[in-house]
């Protein structure tokens, strides 16, 4: 490694430094250089020793935690496709045609990753160059999140456009990583949702080739796409019996299938199991806040429990745990709500923020059939509310201090 270091310092670096031919690409060089080697910068003020952790390590831990979702999602794209084509049936062992499924999924997910990272990092480099600061690591995670929260059949150009929108409007206009108000990845998804609603409304989320025809009985709709049809009809009515059957233990959206993730949906969100593995990793390394995750779960459960207790339609009547297994609830809980920049920053605030994000996720999901899933909206809404929550938490601290001063005086 010494030799490589020497090569970089003696033969490559001078071209990018002041006076070199490639001076304008200094940001690119610098980011790649610091990517490969933690620079030998020593402390010059304050504490002489520093913790081993840095932003790169932190972001890397999140990416590692996302890998179970990524791998499962890749497999599931293929699984759903082959299911839809009738090549496998839901009764077959899951491992049958494993490589066909995984390979099919990979042909889908790799271009999405390339587009997301390519567009996002491209813009990051541009802004870093213009503003003359070094590349921030934040997008390493956002770039992975964006492909995981879109349906498999989305067009690549849409993802590119949404990523560009999210990075510029969601983040860079506020000053870059650490300054943004709302979650970058969710901003991208919200953009897609409002700009191309037909593509992301949950009706047919199946990656297929043109001209493919679905096997009989396979609709390719998400669980919530189906449930939206029950709204306005009485609980347990005859018209919704077929939908209820899908959510029975032997149906397509059984609790088990939804826990494992064997259903159509956004690529990374379907498997509660994969999300929970990610959660375990994040909590083990202490990167994500357990306060947000726990309160998010409780908030969602409380809302689902209330709905379940006083149902007006079959959507509300779904048992609480089953309700939570659906859609992106766990993915949102583990990877979206816990984003430290956009979540509440005080420990007390995190409980409040997480609770309401979970609570509203289920509320929006069930009450607003125009949005087939409420998690994105709820988290974005609470992102906006987070500074206010913190404000009141801090006001309480300030009041305590003022009171103490008044007593002393």
């Amino acid at each position: 490694m010494k030799a490589l270091r020497k090569l970089i310092d003696n033969n490559i670096r001078p071209h990018f430094e002041e006076g070199g031919k490639l001076k304008r690409f200094w940001v690119v060089f610098d980011s790649l250089d610091t990517f490969a080697f933690v620079p030998g910068h020593t402390t010059h003020s304050g504490a002489h020793i520093r913790d081993g952790i840095d932003m790169k390590r932190t972001m890397m831990m999140v990416i590692i935690a996302l890998i179970p979702c990524l791998l499962f999602g890749t497999w599931n794209i293929g699984h759903q496709y082959l299911l839809g084509m009738g090549a496998v049936s839901s009764g077959d062992p899951l491992m049958s045609m494993f490589w066909e499924k995984f390979g099919w999924g990979a042909t889908r997910i790799l271009p999405l990753l390339v587009v997301s990272y390519g567009v996002g990092l491209g813009i990051e480099f541009l802004f870093a160059g213009l503003r003359k600061h070094s590349i921030n690591e934040g997008f390493l995670v956002s770039g992975m999140l964006i492909p995981l929260i879109v349906p498999a059949d989305i067009s690549l150009w849409m993802v590119g456009l949404a990523t560009a929108f999210a990075v510029v409007i969601g983040k860079e206009v506020f000053g870059g990583t650490g300054m943004n108000i709302v979650n970058v990845a969710l901003t991208a998804r919200a953009f897609l949702f409002f700009a191309y609603p037909t593509k992301i409304s949950g009706n047919v989320w199946l990656m297929a080739n043109e001209g493919d025809t679905f096997a009989d009985g396979y609709t390719g709709a998400t669980a919530m796409g189906e449930l939206a049809n029950t709204i306005g009809q009485p609980v347990g009515g005859n018209g919704t019996a077929s939908i209820r059957a899908m959510f029975s233990d032997s149906g397509a959206y059984s609790l088990w299938n939804q826990f494992v993730g064997l259903e159509p949906g956004s690529i990374g969100e379907t498997s509660a199991l994969a999300c929970l593995i990610g959660a375990a990793i994040l909590l083990f390394v202490g990167i994500a806040s357990w306060r947000v995750m726990a309160s998010f779960f409780v908030g969602g459960f409380v809302m689902a429990f209330i709905f379940n207790s006083f149902p007006a339609n079959d959507f509300m009547a779904i048992p609480p745990i089953h309700q939570l297994m659906m859609g992106g609830f766990f993915f949102g809980m583990v990877f979206m709500a816990t984003d430290p920049v956009t979540a509440a920053q005080t420990n007390t605030g995190k409980f409040i923020y997480g609770f309401f994000a979970g609570f509203f996720s289920i509320m929006i999901r069930v009450f607003n059939p125009a949005y087939p899933e409420g998690v994105m909206m709820a988290i974005l809404f609470m992102n906006v509310m987070a500074p206010m929550i913190d404000h009141y938490v801090i006001q309480a601290n300030i009041k305590k201090r003022l009171k103490r001063a008044a007593v002393a005086a």
């Binding site: 490589l4 933690v38 020593t42 002489h48 952790i53 840095d54 932190t58 890397m60 831990m61 801090i394």
Partner: protein
């Protein structure tokens, strides 16, 4: 009266090169210096010239804006140099010590029977008032003020820190006299001794509030102790004195002489002769530390709050240890030593390295590498884990960064000093220079209050 507090937030960073409980033979040191930058915010006005002879206890300089506050020479000898830096700021006043010491004679008064004014007068005259510091701002106290309490931290919890009980074991008589003087300064208010829970070394001291603290660093920081015992409100001031300086004050009252002694720890993985040393304050450190390997950082003070000095520099006024750790100038390849590596040699407050699973007793060899580059605030909840104040550290820092004086006051800036944030700075993922930000905030507030 006694209290006890349990500090839960914080971390003990266990470093290699702890000072054993042995007193190294003291080499003969002939060079000493008093460094005005050790007294934050001071504008010194020189009273001596190069070549002038001084006695131990003679005033070297005074505070330009408060002429009563004098600064004593620790030794008798000749002023050899006045080192100036940028804008002719005085950095060091160097003195070559005589082989036999002469002392400025002050009348030895009994602080128990003297009045408060006499005690203050005696300390001012002897140039020993600078031992008395105040919060807010962590600066030399104003002798006209009436503090609402006085605090002495009787243990140091910083990494590799001096064992103050060991350092004071032959000085308890002087310490007791010094406490009598502080009681006079307190003028009926409490004098608080913050001791390590379970210690009985200070039980003989009468008429003080003994507060026992348990838990990790920064339990020994006087700021933490003040916050727990008697938090500072706007407009109030609290005084504090280092434990060894209490003994110095006591010695002056007993003998009438300014004999500024200290027992300091020599520690750190690069220090070859770790142990304790009895020295006179302001000592030249070269003969104390011996030879240091190439690429070593020598710190006057501890690794979290000390000041970097040269191997031929001088010990700082308020410091009671010298630490030597390796410099970390070597770039670290990402897969082996860097951010993607296993990180088995990285101590971290976070759990992102497997080292948190290792036994707590393991000692670490940490260097001065920053382990990353500065970034915006991203990770939250990190400072709170090591900051045992009822204060929101990040929000206070942000208020300072945007220069919002009103917010700084409300968020509790009067209660903190840079050293209280040292662990936040250590733990920061974004490598933000927290201590200097806090100091900047305090300077702004002080300016406003003036």
């Amino acid at each position: 009266m006694s209290q006890s507090f349990k500090i839960r937030k914080g971390v003990d960073i266990r470093l290699q090169g702890e000072a054993g409980k042995n007193i190294n033979p003291t080499p003969s040191i002939s060079e000493f210096a008093v460094k005005p930058p050790d007294f934050h915010g001071l504008t010194p006005k020189m009273l001596v010239k190069i070549g002038e002879r001084v006695k131990a206890g003679s005033s070297l300089f005074i505070d330009k804006y408060n002429a009563k506050i004098k600064f004593a020479s620790p030794v008798s000898g000749e002023v050899t140099d006045i080192v100036r830096g940028a804008k002719r700021r005085i950095l060091e006043v160097r003195i070559k010590a005589d082989s036999t010491q002469e002392y400025e004679s002050f009348s030895s008064i009994n602080p128990q029977t003297a009045t408060r004014e006499e005690v203050i007068e005696a300390l001012l005259n002897a140039g020993m008032w600078p031992f008395v510091r105040q919060r807010p701002f962590s600066i030399v106290a104003n002798p006209e003020d009436q503090p609402k309490s006085i605090h002495v931290s009787c243990f140091d919890s910083a990494p590799l820190a001096t064992d103050i009980e060991f350092a004071l074991k032959d000085e308890m008589d002087n310490f007791a006299v010094g406490i009598e003087a502080l009681k006079k300064l307190a003028n009926g208010k409490n004098v608080n001794l913050g001791v390590r829970a379970g210690s009985s070394a200070f039980n003989t001291i009468q008429g003080v509030n003994i507060a026992a603290f348990s838990g990790p660093h920064p339990a020994g920081n006087v700021g933490v102790q003040i916050h727990k015992i008697d938090p500072i409100n706007k407009g109030e001031s609290v005084w504090y004195v280092d434990a060894q300086d209490v003994a110095n004050i006591g010695r002056m009252f007993s003998t009438g002489k300014v004999m500024l002694r200290k027992t300091i720890a020599l520690a750190g993985s690069e220090m070859s002769n770790t142990g304790y040393c009895q020295i006179t304050m302001g000592a030249h450190v070269a003969s104390l530390v011996g030879s240091l390997p190439e690429g070593t950082r020598l710190i006057s003070g501890d690794v979290l709050t000390g000041t970097q000095i040269e191997a031929n520099g001088y010990l700082g006024w308020y410091e009671n240890m010298l630490t030597a750790i390796p410099e970390g100038t070597e770039p670290q390849f990402m897969l082996t030593k860097g951010w993607l590596g296993p990180g088995l040699d990285k101590f971290s407050v976070s759990r992102a390295f497997p080292t948190w699973l290792m036994p707590k007793s393991k000692k670490w060899n940490l260097n001065t590498n920053q382990n990353g580059e500065e970034r915006a605030f991203v990770v939250t909840g990190q400072y709170e884990k090591v900051f045992p104040f009822d204060i929101y550290p990040v929000h206070l820092l942000k208020a300072i960064i945007v220069n919002d004086i009103d917010a700084m006051e409300k968020l509790g800036i009067y209660e903190v000093a840079p050293e209280d944030f040292a662990l936040c700075e250590y733990a920061c993922t974004s490598k933000i220079p927290v201590q200097s930000i806090v100091r900047k905030g305090l300077d702004v507030i002080k300016e406003e209050c003036a």
